[in-house]
């Protein structure tokens, strides 16, 4: 049995693998992190190797073609996002790792977009920001808030990365607030600032829990109730007014009602039997702007058992009256010559009467042409 031979073979292979592994992940070469601009050209030297050293470059473990080399340097032209990765250069013969570069391709930041809003007046306001286009590399943001000449603290939001909160110390201030933000990354830097009065940024959150219910025995009514937004801290001293809009699903035109107080309203002009969509918005009574529209509520007014598509409320109907309402009224009754004779079933005499009429009409036309 030739067992020792394959055994020795495995041992050699394992040792070779271990050596290669050690060379590839040698601790003396931690990757150098490099940021380069999208679209630019970059030349990566192989660490301290001579220009004419014989090296091989790999990216993320894949060999790179020798035509990208300029001596021992790797040249990348017209950088794309796909060029980002771990580049490593090895001594061609010994596979000794010479140098590693973690390349990140990105962009310098454009001017950030900053906005501030107070949905918790008079407690405070928050500012949030974002970049109009991505940079693909990490960015750091720095926000400063000035009230006149006083610097105020903007506390980071616990959940959202691009938001911070400021607490009002003084109310009814004539001095404007100035919020500036600067964003920077490895490739560049940008800033923007906004100035505003305390009153102009007040915008509550939409009303909550909007519920619409039909009103029993009232086919044209819908009762709507809602709650002031839970983020509004003091509805007593800073009351909200509300704006209600509603329409049947089948129409595009909204009806509007403005309500100066109270959190309930009864719609009295709903079309019977039609499903309605209802939304509510809120605003501080005196300052700021309207909130966004609330989550929509749907409801259909109360209807009695057979559903009617008319808009008038109708008295409860018996079978006899139903029959009579389906028959055409006497004034628009079509003259039916067949009925004069028999007074019986409508269909056959009616058909005959049509034929008779046509025959008469044809005869009249013929007589007319003869006369001419």
């Amino acid at each position: 049995m030739a067992v020792p031979v394959p055994w020795a073979c495995c041992a050699v292979l394992a040792a070779a693998a271990a050596v290669v592994y050690a060379q590839r992940h040698s601790p003396q070469e931690t990757p150098h992190v490099q940021y380069e601009r999208l679209g630019s050209d970059v030349t990566l030297p192989c660490g301290t190797a001579n220009w004419d050293a014989a090296v091989t470059w790999r990216v993320n473990g894949t060999d790179l073609a020798p035509d990208l080399l300029n001596g021992s340097q790797l040249v990348l032209r017209g950088l794309e996002l796909g060029h980002s990765g771990l580049y490593a250069c090895f001594h061609r013969d010994s596979w000794h790792l010479r140098h590693q570069v973690l390349l990140n391709v990105g962009l310098p930041p454009r001017e950030p977009v900053l906005s501030c809003r107070s949905n918790t007046y008079p407690k405070g306001f928050y500012c949030s920001w974002h970049l109009p286009s991505p940079t693909y590399i990490p960015n750091t943001f720095n926000v400063t808030v000035l009230h006149g000449s006083k610097i105020m603290v903007c506390e980071k939001d616990p959940a959202l990365k691009n938001r911070c909160h400021i607490r009002y110390m003084h109310l009814f201030s004539t001095v404007k607030y100035k919020v500036s933000i600067s964003v920077s990354n490895a490739l560049g830097h940008n800033t923007t600032a906004i100035t505003f009065d305390e009153f102009t940024i007040v915008k509550p959150d939409p009303p909550e829990n909007v519920v619409a219910r039909p009103v029993p025995s009232n086919p044209r009514r819908l009762e709507v109730t809602w709650q002031t937004p839970s983020t509004w801290p003091d509805p007593e001293s800073f009351p909200l007014k509300f704006f209600l809009r509603y329409r049947p699903l089948i129409l595009d035109q909204w009806q509007h009602v403005e309500l100066s107080d109270g959190t309930a309203h009864t719609i009295t002009d709903a079309y019977a039997g039609k499903e309605y969509i209802i939304q509510v918005a809120a605003k501080d009574n005196e300052i700021g702007t309207w909130s966004d529209w609330s989550v929509a509520a749907h409801a259909t007014p109360w209807t009695e058992e057979p559903r009617h598509l008319t808009t008038e409320a109708q008295a409860p109907e018996t079978t006899a009256s139903t029959t009579s309402s389906l028959a055409p009224p006497p004034t628009t009754k079509i003259c039916d010559p067949g009925e004069l004779g028999s007074g019986g079933g409508p269909s056959a005499p009616f058909f005959i009467s049509v034929l008779v009429t046509l025959a008469l009409a044809a005869a009249a036309a013929a007589a007319g042409s003869l006369l001419i």
Binding site: G148, M169, H170, F172, T174, E208, P235, E236, N285, E286
Partner: protein
């Protein structure tokens, strides 16, 4: 006498003291009125009306002053205009003001502001501006009377000027044209802010004057979850 140069604030302060001694407007005629509720509502409505009026008046006046005063981003430091009554107040202090103090602060502020506005009127260059300012002054006088009525209905005395605050008639350093315009700018800004504050002040008073049951119901409705 040339009213443009000279210590306009001083002269106006003097005029203000004259106004103090005028009897409060006839709103004090109490012919069996049903308590302060309706007059608080009326006062609140007046502040809203005035705030609306001021928006167009301020726009016209700032255009008359010209740039940079009529630019929306104009954000100067608050220098001078020391004697203007400031609406700004610490949040907790404002919340805890008692009714008497709340009303007194409003009354005193508008008395001063009215006086300064009348001075502005005298110096305004165009007839149209003078007309608008005069109309606004009349409305503001109405607001003052309304506040006085509320105070009287609640049994609070009208504030009297403290002795020693009456200015002596001494012409101060000449006020430059630009500084005068800055003062006008701050006057209008402070007036607008006071009207917003008063709306909140009277809201608070209105809620307090309501019968307790209704107030509780409102409270439950507002926090009904």
């Amino acid at each position: 006498m040339d009213l443009r140069a000279g210590d306009s604030w001083g002269m106006l302060a003097c005029l203000c003291t004259v106004l103090w001694h005028l009897p409060a407007v006839p709103a004090l005629n109490r012919t069996g009125d049903p308590g302060p509720g309706p007059s608080i509502q009326k006062t609140y409505d007046l502040t809203r009306y005035l705030e609306h009026q001021l928006r167009s008046l301020a726009g016209t006046y700032l255009n008359y002053l010209g740039p940079p005063f009529n630019e929306p981003d104009f954000n100067p430091p608050r220098l001078g205009a020391e004697t203007l009554p400031r609406a700004t107040v610490n949040l907790d202090v404002w919340r805890s003001l008692n009714d008497r103090l709340r009303l007194t602060q409003n009354y005193e502020a508008y008395s001063h502001l009215l006086c300064y506005l009348r001075g502005l009127n005298r110096q305004a260059a165009t007839a149209e501006l003078r007309r608008s300012l005069a109309h606004f002054c009349t409305s503001l006088q109405g607001l003052l009377g309304s506040i006085a009525g509320v105070m009287a209905a609640l049994g609070y005395p009208l504030p009297q000027p403290l002795p020693g605050t009456e200015p002596t008639w001494t012409p101060g350093p000449a006020h430059s044209d630009f500084l005068q315009k800055m003062d006008d700018f701050w006057l209008l800004k402070e007036l607008q802010t006071w009207l917003w504050r008063s709306a909140k002040d009277f809201n608070r008073l209105k809620k307090k004057m309501q019968p307790p049951a209704a107030a509780v119901t409102l409270h439950l409705e507002a926090h009904g979850f």
